[in-house]
Symmetry: none
Subunit: 225 residues, 2 copies
Amino acid sequence: MSRILLIEDDHAVRVGLATALGRYGHDVVATATGEEGLRRHAQDAAELVVLDLMLPGIDGFEVCRRIRAAGTVPIVMLTARGDDIDVVSGLEAGADDYVVKPVEPRVVDARIRAVLRRAAPAAPGRTSAWGDLVIDRAAMTVTRAGRPVAMTPTELRLLLELSASPGQVLSRQQLLRTVWEHSYLGDSRLVDNGVQRLRAKIETDPSSPVYIQTVRGFGYRFGPV
Amino acid sequence: MSRILLIEDDHAVRVGLATALGRYGHDVVATATGEEGLRRHAQDAAELVVLDLMLPGIDGFEVCRRIRAAGTVPIVMLTARGDDIDVVSGLEAGADDYVVKPVEPRVVDARIRAVLRRAAPAAPGRTSAWGDLVIDRAAMTVTRAGRPVAMTPTELRLLLELSASPGQVLSRQQLLRTVWEHSYLGDSRLVDNGVQRLRAKIETDPSSPVYIQTVRGFGYRFGPV
DNA sequence: CCGTTCTGCGACACGGTTGCGACACGGCGA
DNA sequence: TCGCCGTGTCGCAACCGTGTCGCAGAACGG
């Protein structure tokens, strides 16, 4: 069901839990130390981490914090029986749930499913990608080749408007109305200027634009070539 | 990282994208037709579906609708270049995101991660952790670097509201409605002020905030850029 | 090939938006 | 009743965004 990283130093527990979770349909990678676990996680992040607190070397809290710092992967902790100090500290370190030892694979599996279920839904916003240009309408961010592009409000509105009708020519008047909310009828260099500023940010070579094409006499058209 | 179902009839694209996504750490199941994809999805639901629009037999729209009807799995669509009809219809059929062909594996991977990241948190789980900031929704407590942060009711509501939609921009109006339960339409500095007070408590350096970003002209955004 | 029109682009100053400190009001507890 | 804490409001200052202007160069038509 899910790719799980298990970090547990006790050999018997590690092997037993790993095989059991495997039988429950999970894809388990098991490591014996925090260092090894962090390394594995860094190169191929799991969807959920099952983490023992008592570890040689880097202890569970530290591992937890580091994984938390790196992303939002859910973490299920394994703690010694009834040790509520562990529990509190664990939750503070960013664990999502904990299971008290001795572990019952069935219980761990139930917790894992519960945590994953909790983490599952929520409505994602809508983003779009054009070539290496990514527009995230929910976060109001634009990235090019993986790098974030700082956008001003007007530039962003203009880009959103253009990209909402890809391949279609939008006249200056249309853009003026929708982006600037002006109802000018006379000519204005506003749109030209806006497009120029936008190009300067998203085009590799503004003199031969890839994303925003000039259609002489009519307006502008968005669309990767 | 995640179990992904890829539905794409073009052999070259399918194989290329599948192997590339595999290298990026995803667990890819690839099918050539909508029927096959739906069958696979029914017997073992993926965490995310990458779906081509142009398919023989059942087309992408229909597949999209059926997957949507069956659950809340995020869907990333692959559409022909600049075909805005595709894009609009795709979003209407329930796609969360779309990428314009020709596809760049890196871009598709980025989109997948973005969609999953957005889909992941926000659930009303007990605690959520962002860097060294831990928000416990059950206990209504906030700790930073292990130390409890004293919060006033309004500040806490604001923080909960913002952190409930991480990575998403929330407008002042939205926040005014949800946090203050006002239905102002005129402008008000209430939200600005609330954010400022909140930042003073949770940000190390309020002048360069880490958790709550100002998105000029749009509102505020919680979480990673 | 030349002239006209349209567009790209840099410069600059104005205005809006935001951050931030200060203050006043009101509710709750002592 | 008094005092404190939380919160709404106001005003100021700074910064950033943006509208405007002018010129040069490209594109297009004759």
